[in-house]
């Protein structure tokens, strides 16, 4: 069932014959190409390739050669899949992945082989926290970031008490902890943290619990099928009108069609939004739609796009010589990325220091409302860099 595609850029051969000093830069995509996250993997790869294409198919004058492995979002196969790219294909740069568990395995394999890794989605705090490493970067976010941003917004709205709810797993805990941190710093109080086992979606008992607690607001972290059902159940339980529901952006990203009317007006925080209406973002969206008409531009495509920008920043500093690993990594770490989401820099731990946006669901869009927190840096707790 494993699908491995090896794309050899035709141009790579041409570059070699032209007598370039170095061989092409080998980029290995370890992304989900099957299963629930297949579309996310596709969007990330599309975004990455779009940027390379805009640079005339080269990064810092170097041809790019792609390798692909389907990680199946399966953490137990993570080390094996990572080593296919590292050992068999001998890639210079790893780009992956969506699932946090797989990304942890990937980060370990990258550390062991001293390969540069750019993570285009997985938000596990640990990757740029205790497990941080000089060769690991992220073009997306840490789970802590959207939560922290929303806590600040809730406090600003005048909410005094809140209940947090998520699945009983790392991502949910990290996100709701972020919310709690900023909300309580601003004088609010999280009166209860509700959890249910992953991937259970029988929310009714917990919704009843929320109704009995009567908090001023509810903050939640759910994604995918769970997000659809939670938003629908929350509305059906009649809570939507009496207790505002806040969430990390994934609550309403890629799920709006299924959520229908129950999601209208919901507020979420993320590092990307619809209707940013900056020249940079408009240009990106236009190009993306032109090249990939079947998939709308989304946050995942942006993360892939920026992963390519980060790589370019590194390559430029070493004139495309990937063997100068340290210099390349220092350059990535100090780069200023002109992202469609807005400009961002990287923290010492390699996580984006970026504006977090407050968005509101209008129709099938997560419409930009305002900047919730400017230049928010993940605290990178436990990172010794």
């Amino acid at each position: 069932m494993k699908k491995i595609f090896t794309h050899t850029a035709l141009a790579a051969a041409l570059a070699l014959s032209a007598g370039s000093a170095f061989a092409a830069v080998k980029v290995g995509f370890m992304l989900p190409y099957s299963g629930t996250y297949a579309k996310l993997g596709e969007a990330i790869e599309n975004g990455f390739k779009l940027y390379v294409q805009e640079q005339g198919g080269k990064l810092a004058g170097q041809e790019v050669q792609y390798f692909k492995v389907d990680d199946e979002s399966n953490p137990s196969k993570g080390p094996e899949n990572a080593n296919r790219l590292i050992k068999r294909d001998g890639v210079d740069i790893l780009v992956g992945t969506v699932h946090s568990g797989v990304a942890m395995a990937l980060a370990k394999a990258a550390n062991d082989s001293d390969t540069t890794l750019i993570i285009p989605n997985a938000g596990a705090d640990a990757i740029t926290g205790p497990l941080c490493s000089k060769n690991v970067f992220r073009s997306s976010f840490s789970n802590w970031q959207p939560g922290y941003a929303m806590g600040a917004v809730a406090a600003e709205n005048g909410d005094k008490t809140a209940v947090t709810i998520s699945w009983n797993y790392a991502a949910g805990k990290e996100s709701t902890d972020g919310f709690k941190e900023s909300f309580e710093k601003a004088g609010g109080k999280v009166i209860k943290h509700l959890t249910l086992p992953f991937p259970n979606v029988e929310f009714q008992p917990l919704l009843t619990e929320i109704a009995s607690l009567k908090p001023d607001a509810v903050y939640t972290f759910f994604a995918g099928g769970g997000a659809v059902k939670f938003v629908q159940d929350y509305a059906a339980a009649g809570l939507k009108d009496s207790i505002p529901l806040y969430g990390a952006g994934f609550l309403t990203d890629g799920t709006l069609e299924a959520q229908g009317a129950s999601a209208q007006g919901l507020q979420t925080t993320l590092h990307y939004a619809d209707g940013l209406d900056t020249p940079r973002d408009n240009k990106f969206r236009e190009d993306y739609i032109k090249n990939f008409p079947q998939l709308p531009p989304d946050v995942y495509a942006v993360q892939g796009y920026d992963a390519a920008q980060m790589l370019e920043a590194g390559l430029k500093a070493v004139d495309g010589d990937v063997s100068k690993k340290d210099a390349m990594r220092d350059a990535i770490r100090s780069a200023k990325i002109d992202s469609p989401r807005g400009e961002f820099t990287l923290s010492k731990a390699g996580n984006p220091v970026q504006d977090m946006y407050l968005r509101k669901v209008e129709g099938d869009k997560n419409q930009f409302v305002k900047i919730a927190v400017e230049k928010l840096a993940d605290p990178a707790r436990g990172c010794k860099l």
Binding site: P197, N200, S212, K229, Q232, A237, A258, G260
Partner: protein, 292 residues
């Protein structure tokens, strides 16, 4: 706890338990009466839900639409599918070992998931609640209860009553019970046991699909939805006693209550409460609450 909230939680538990019963009843029939471990049962639930999603526009276009009609079409198609599957695959399994049954039915899960992926894709989809059931009832001062959830419970109760009646009061039910206790004897009495089992299997599939179809508006449809249901259904069947409809009903209710109040009172242990219940019951009643 506030008594009003307590009552609502009980309602939640009953409603969840009833839906579990609807899925598990088909499983216990197939497991207990035909002796087949059918891992693909969750897939039938998934198929029912996806049919409710995918057939809705088609039914609206060709048959005039309506939620009830869509569900009926789902059930009819599922019955046909069950009849076919029994003929093509399951009928070869009666005399085989459990390991082979598990392997084949696991294979079917993979096939059905892949087909689902090819035909409908991997997105999450919502199924609209029919407009005449879209209202909600006010409970307490902030909470409302969707009428549709009450409707699900009503359907489950009706199906449970119907099944009980068929099994204990009709000729078909008598033949099924006789076939379960002694295949050879009933065959020699001139009853076509193969056809009988084919019918039982088709009913089992139809029940799972019905559960999936009516649950679709509240659960939405998503990849892997069948597997989550399968495990909890096996718990229900094992607690209730394999093959016992009465047992499945009681067990589903127990699981509903334990799961609901486990989440409220012991959130940290919510994931294991149901399995602790199963272990405790098996300790004292190794064959489940009702021995078949």
């Amino acid at each position: 706890m506030d008594p009003a909230i307590l009552l609502i939680q009980c309602l939640n538990a009953v409603q969840y338990g009833l839906l579990l019963f609807l899925v598990a009843s088909g499983l216990t029939l197939i497991f207990g009466i035909m002796g087949i471990i059918n891992l693909a049962h969750g897939s039938f639930y998934m198929i029912g839900a996806y049919m409710a999603f995918a057939l809705q526009p088609l039914v609206a276009q060709y048959l005039g639409g309506g939620f009830v009609l869509t569900v009926l079409v789902c059930v009819v198609l599922a019955t046909v599918l069950g009849y076919f599957l029994e003929w093509a695959f399951y009928s070869y399994l009666y005399t085989r070992e459990h390991l082979q049954q598990v392997l084949m039915t696991y294979g079917l899960i993979l096939v059905f998931e892949e087909l689902r992926s090819i035909i409908v894709g991997n997105d999450v989809h919502g199924v609209p609640v029919p407009s005449w059931l879209a209202g909600s009832v006010r409970l307490g001062d902030v909470m409302t209860y969707p009428v549709y959830r009450l409707f699900i419970s009503l359907v489950c109760i009706l199906v449970a009553a119907l099944m009980f009646w068929v099994l204990t009061r009709t000729r078909l039910g008598m033949m099924i019970r006789a076939g379960a206790s002694n295949r050879e004897m009933i065959n020699s009495l001139g009853i076509d046991i193969n056809r009988l089992f084919r019918i039982v299997f088709a009913i089992g599939v139809a029940l799972a699909a019905l559960a999936g179809a009516i649950a679709a508006p509240v659960s939405s449809v998503y990849p892997g939805m069948g597997n989550a249901v399968l495990i909890i259904c096996f718990v229900v069947v094992v607690i209730g006693g394999i093959g016992s409809i009465k047992g499945a009903f009681l067990a589903a209710m127990l699981v509903g209550f334990v799961d609901t109040f486990g989440q409220v009172f012991f959130p940290a242990a919510a994931g294991v409460m149901v399995y602790l219940l199963m272990a405790a019951i098996l300790l004292f009643k190794p064959e489940g609450l009702f021995k078949h």
